[in-house]
Structures are given as structure tokens and as C-alpha cells.
Symmetry: C3
Subunit: 139 residues, 3 copies
């Protein structure tokens, strides 16, 4: 069973939520694998990976409001005293939501619901260039 690493780059703005389903589908196609899993990973402590139905009500409204409610961004976090930066809320969001999501595929297709998209969440406060790692294992 081969291991195939595919990556792609995102240029993000603060609090972006990006639909990365198509990039992962393309990466799967390039591996020529038929059956297996892909571990989608962001090598950062201020971003995260999850899934949602990618429609404006959720990704521009409900999800940002929910995150702001449970982890308000503009607070005086202890993290800020360590480095003098201001992204403690972004660290907490990444910690909570996780930087990793594993998705199965079969017959060269990701197993996803019709209204289920894979999303990258930028949780930092500055524009960033992010590499998303897709480690495919399969046959």
C-alpha cells in the first residue's frame, strides 16, 4: 500500500473559512489511489480543519458567531503576555477544533455527504500563507 503526500497552499485573511473539498478531490485524483484514507492536516496552532455545509448562513453567520461566543477574540489572553502578540483566541479555537481530519475514500471518491464540505479555518489575526498537507494511504 503506497503513501502519497499531496499539498496545496492557501492565502488566507483573518478568520477566513475556506472550502477545500475540491483541492482534496484533485489531490486524490493525482494519487491514482482507489481505496483508503486521507489525513488532512494543518501544521499550525492557529488554524483548524473540520466539515460543514458550505453555505453563507453557516460559514459567514452561524459558525463565526458561535466561535466568537465561546471563544471571544479580542480578550486579554494570558498567551499575549508571553509573546506580546494578540492571537490567543486563535490558539484556543485551533486547540478546540483540531488541526486534523481523516476522511475515507472508495472507488477514487471521497466519502462525503452531498451537503458536507471540508473546511480550513484561519484562526489567526494576520494574513497568512498556509500549506495544507494531505497524506493519502490506500491502494
Amino acid at each position: 500500500m503506497p503513501v502519497k503526500l499531496e499539498t496545496f497552499v492557501l492565502n488566507t485573511q483573518p478568520k477566513d473559512i475556506v472550502d477545500i473539498t475540491l483541492q482534496i478531490k484533485k489531490a486524490l485524483a493525482s494519487t491514482l489511489l482507489k481505496d483508503g484514507i486521507v489525513c488532512v492536516f494543518t501544521a499550525s496552532s492557529t488554524s483548524a480543519i473540520s466539515t460543514t455545509e458550505f453555505e453563507p448562513g453557516l460559514v459567514q453567520g452561524d459558525i463565526p458567531k458561535f466561535l466568537e461566543k465561546i471563544i471571544p477574540y479580542d480578550r486579554d489572553y494570558d498567551h499575549h503576555k508571553t509573546w506580546g502578540d494578540h492571537n490567543g483566541g486563535g490558539h484556543l479555537r485551533s486547540f478546540l477544533l483540531h488541526p486534523s481530519l481523516t476522511i475515507p475514500f472508495t472507488n477514487s471518491n471521497l466519502i462525503l455527504g452531498t451537503w458536507q464540505q471540508i473546511i480550513f479555518l484561519e484562526c489567526d489575526e494576520k494574513n497568512r500563507t498556509r500549506t495544507v498537507y494531505c497524506q493519502f494511504l490506500g491502494e
Copy 2:
């Protein structure tokens, strides 16, 4: 190393929390694999996979109360304006809890604690028929 996909179906009611440990153990047995991992996945944006001790205090009391506290169900979510439906709270719960959980196994047994069961969380508001996907990789 082979890849083996096993699936099973759940008929759920709104906000059900279902112990799926036995189904996954049976699926593992049917693969004849000894060592590896299984990615347990729900192909939906209104359900989730996690673990807990499956006892009534937690699954009928503490977990539903906690979810209702951080993501109240009967609110006027922005998602409802998009489609006219009413399950925005279910989408948020699925987004937060994730549709995927990866569990190792060794000597043909899932590595789980004595009081640790794998659970499927129905987060939608209607009765649903759900397929749970178990992608096994191992030897």
C-alpha cells in the same frame, strides 16, 4: 496491507446518541485484520462521532445538557434563512464535534478503555437513516 470498507445503517431519532461500539467490533472481526486503524465516519453535516462512557447520566443527561448550553437548538440561525429549514444548531454541533474518529486496533481488538464507548450523535431534527462508514487499514 489491505483496505477494507465496512458499513452499517442506523435509524435515528432527533438528538439520539447511539453506542456503535459493537457494530465496529463486528466489522473489525469480519475484516480478519489483526493490527491497524479504523476511520469511523459519518457522511453528513448534521451528525458526529465521538467517545464517552455510555451510561444514562452522561448520554441522557450531561451530554445533551452541555450541547444545548453551548449550541441551543431552537434559535433563529442564519442557516435557516438559506433553505427554510430548522437544523442550524445540528450543523453547528456536527462542525464542532467532527464527523470522523480514528481508532487503533491490535491483535484483532479495538484499543478502547473499559468505560470508553464509540458513539454516533444524531444532530438533526427529523428521523434519519444513517450509514456509518468504517474504513479499516491494517494487516
Copy 3:
């Protein structure tokens, strides 16, 4: 592709957050694998695995405060009525944060950000001896 299970033991105190990155790097080195994934798993329903920048502001301040805010520990949880114990808050934290995290590696190195460490979260109320399971799949 081989499967290699490595384990290590942690002696934890209540609410400890432990940086386990080095143990996982050593485990990876011992497998002699170059490319693949590792599923880091705690076989318990009162502990969890995630990532964060491991610095005191976050791990001694912001993360414990955040967990205490959304899941206060010293409450009268329904779980306590089942067994007469007092760790319902620990169960909820483990349920929310998950006991599993999958991380890719390439060229014998974990794919991690510079300020991204893998952490074990003790969510129980007593001193515990915990085994962390690292299931490596790769080549």
C-alpha cells in the same frame, strides 16, 4: 506497508496538560518508517489528545480557563448519580476534545508547525497512570 504500535506511559495529576511531542518523535524514530501517519490515542473517557503551542500562557492559563468556562468541573453532573464519583466534567471534556489525533509524517519527521506541540489532557480528578497508544502506518 507495516503497522507498528508504540506506547508510552504518563503519570498524571488532575487537569495536567502534558507535551507528548518528544515521546511521539522517539516512537516514530524507533519504527524506522519514513512516510505515513500516526494515530495518537488515549484509551480512556476522561482524557483527550489535541495540539497547541506549549507555552505557559496557554497551557497554564487560557486553556484551563476556557475549559472551566464551557465545562465547569465542580458541578452536580448526572454522571455522579450513576457511580457516586465526581468526574462528570472530565467525561464531558474528553467527549468534546476527543481521545484521538492523527498526524502525518514524511522523511521520518512528524509534519508539525514550529509552535505546534501534541498534548495529552488529563481530565480526571485523581492521579492516574495513562498509556498513550501510537499506531504507525507507513513505509
